[in-house]
């Protein structure tokens, strides 16, 4: 393996004089953007921008075409049908949409919703709120010692009154791949609809929603080397059919009178208002970028780098990973013995190393693990061994200065 990533030069950020020394290890929060993505957005915004789906003139029609081609491209990327793919601003909005449009009408006091204790707040708060409002029960599955969803416990928690199951494909703190196929099989046996929060997983290898056999799958473009502002909700066609639009506005109606409205059918009914076409173009360019590299090369590179990360961190006795055995993960969350996680991040920042410190929008998970906060290091395509070596050196220095006597 090279010290420097062969993909690093695809990212303009490192060529800026301010960032020559940047060691970016926070890709689980958001990925840096490759030039091809920026370029696609620039091209669209400069030369092709118009309001899609509305105008009768050439420019608008071509913007519409871009969006619909994007829908087909993204649908293919995750094995969905074009009529099953909704553009949202991000994962957060996608999950809220499902909560409000699909689950809310099905909920009552005697029902329950099942999630895991490792969920990002985006896949927790909407369900918590629904349960509070309806009197339904929120059931929380715990984790195996390896930090994965405890499927046996999950199976026990699902019953005839379970009306929805929402689980992350990969936790943004622990990084391990949950057995979502098995989870969906269990749920299917009991006719329980499932949402998979794929925000982290979608950049980790090919996702096929039909193989997973979930009803909903949500992710954000910006964790896939795309821009912030475009996310995706896959919803099975029969689910889309029974769902009412949640956010209301222009472009989602067949007919409106002052006394009533008939909505269009299909995924577009969940895309009110003007489309963020630049971001959608960016997402398509990001997917093309990944296709260009090829999943097998990408995954091989990231796996090798991750193995190096876990091995190097494993050699530091003062670094305590949150869960053991997640060596396959493309991230590592840990505590540095005797040093507050914010101080670790502050010290690393002094060496221009960007990591996350805190609860990473997963406060209940930290509580479950008996912690207040942790440091998270997460990898992207631009990282190479050089970054991990710098991280290790900086961590040693941090421990030396702040903890060791």
């Amino acid at each position: 393996m090279y010290d420097q990533s062969p993909y690093k030069s695809d990212f303009a950020v490192f060529s800026h004089p301010d960032n020559a020394e940047l060691c970016y290890l926070d890709s689980a929060a958001t990925c840096l953007t490759p030039k091809v993505v920026v370029e696609a957005m620039y091209q669209y915004q400069s030369f092709s921008h118009a309001n899609s789906h509305k105008g009768l003139y050439r420019l608008s029609a071509s913007a519409t075409e871009l969006v619909e081609q994007a829908r087909a491209s993204v649908a293919e990327f995750i094995g969905a049908g074009v009529d099953e793919l909704v553009f949202t601003p991000g994962t957060t909005e996608a999950i809220n949409l499902v909560a409000n449009s699909f689950v809310r009408p099905r909920l009552s006091t005697d029902k329950n919703i099942v999630i895991s204790c490792a969920e990002h707040h985006a896949n927790l708060l909407p369900w918590q709120r629904l349960c509070q409002q309806s009197g339904a029960e929120l059931r929380v599955v715990s984790l195996t010692p390896q930090g994965l969803l405890d499927v046996a416990e999950l199976s026990d928690l699902l019953d005839d009154n379970t009306c929805f199951l929402a689980i992350s494909h990969i936790s943004n703190v622990l990084g391990g791949l949950n057995p979502v196929e098995e989870v969906c099989r269990l749920a299917r046996q009991k006719s329980i609809p499932v949402l998979i929060d794929g925000a982290q997983a979608v950049s980790h290898g090919p996702v096929d929603v039909k193989d997973i056999d979930c009803d909903f799958y949500a992710f954000s473009g910006h964790k896939l080397y795309g821009p912030v502002g475009c996310g995706v909700l896959f919803a099975r066609a029969d689910c889309i059919e029974v769902m009412e639009p949640d956010t209301l506005g222009g472009g989602i109606v067949e007919q409106v009178s002052l006394t009533g409205t008939r909505f269009i059918s299909g995924p577009m009914k969940f895309e009110p208002g003007s489309h963020n076409v630049a971001a959608i173009c960016g997402l398509v360019a990001a997917i093309d970028y990944i296709r260009g590299i090829g999943w097998s090369d990408l995954v091989a590179y990231m796996n090798e780098l991750s193995t190096y990360l876990h091995r190097q961190l494993g050699d530091l006795p003062f670094i305590k990973p949150l869960t053991p055995g997640t060596s396959g993960a493309w991230l590592c969350s840990f505590q540095c013995q005797g040093v507050h996680s914010h101080d670790v991040a502050g010290m690393l920042d002094g060496d221009d190393i960007a990591v996350r410190a805190g609860h990473h929008c997963a406060q209940p998970l930290h509580h479950y693990l008996g912690l207040k906060s942790s440091v998270r290091v997460s990898l992207g395509l631009y990282n190479g061994r050089e970054d991990i070596d710098r991280l290790v050196a900086s961590l040693k220095n941090t421990y030396q200065l702040l903890a060791a006597d």
Binding site: H340, H342, G358, K372, S373, L402
Partner: protein
């Protein structure tokens, strides 16, 4: 964060000194007043204890879990306050606040915190002990007023906001 390479080091020697040998940390004093400060963003919590008698702060101590910035800041507080009147303590708070906001130079005893003003996200950490102190001051002043029942000076402490 460090796009501006001229930025001062956050973890300077002086700060690390306070972090490693904090004044007043976990010290048992017979305190008359105490207050808790907590930082919702990171879950840090410290408790400030203060022994007040004869219009003066006799001793200060703190405990709790916090980052190095907060701990150093609390240590500086514990170093500065003994011997101060309630009114002087209020002035210390104003000086620290102004220093962290970059409005004025830091008092020399608090120079370890100087760089924090350049790191907006960490200001809260440095502020935590002083915020706790701010809660106690009206009580001190009230006690002082009860005792000496006078000094109709104009600068009555409407510090709290």
């Amino acid at each position: 964060m460090v796009t501006d390479k001229k930025k001062a080091m956050l973890y300077q020697q002086a700060l690390l000194q306070h972090h490693k040998n904090p004044v007043g940390f976990n010290e048992a004093i017979s305190f008359s007043h105490q207050a808790r400060g907590s930082n919702a963003a990171c879950g840090d919590e410290i408790t400030l204890q203060l022994a007040y008698a004869d219009h003066t702060i006799k001793a200060v101590a703190f405990n709790g879990e916090s980052c190095a910035i907060c701990r150093a800041s609390a240590s500086i507080l514990c170093q500065q306050l003994p011997g101060a009147t309630a009114k002087q303590a209020g002035e210390h708070i104003s000086d620290i606040l102004a220093g962290l906001d970059g409005q004025q130079a830091f008092p020399q005893e608090a120079e370890a915190l100087m760089a924090v003003s350049q790191y907006p996200v960490r200001k809260q950490c440095a502020l935590l002990p002083w915020t706790a102190l701010k809660e106690i001051i009206p009580q001190l002043l009230a006690d002082a007023n009860v005792e000496s029942h006078a000094e109709e000076n104009s600068e009555n402490p409407q510090e709290k906001n």
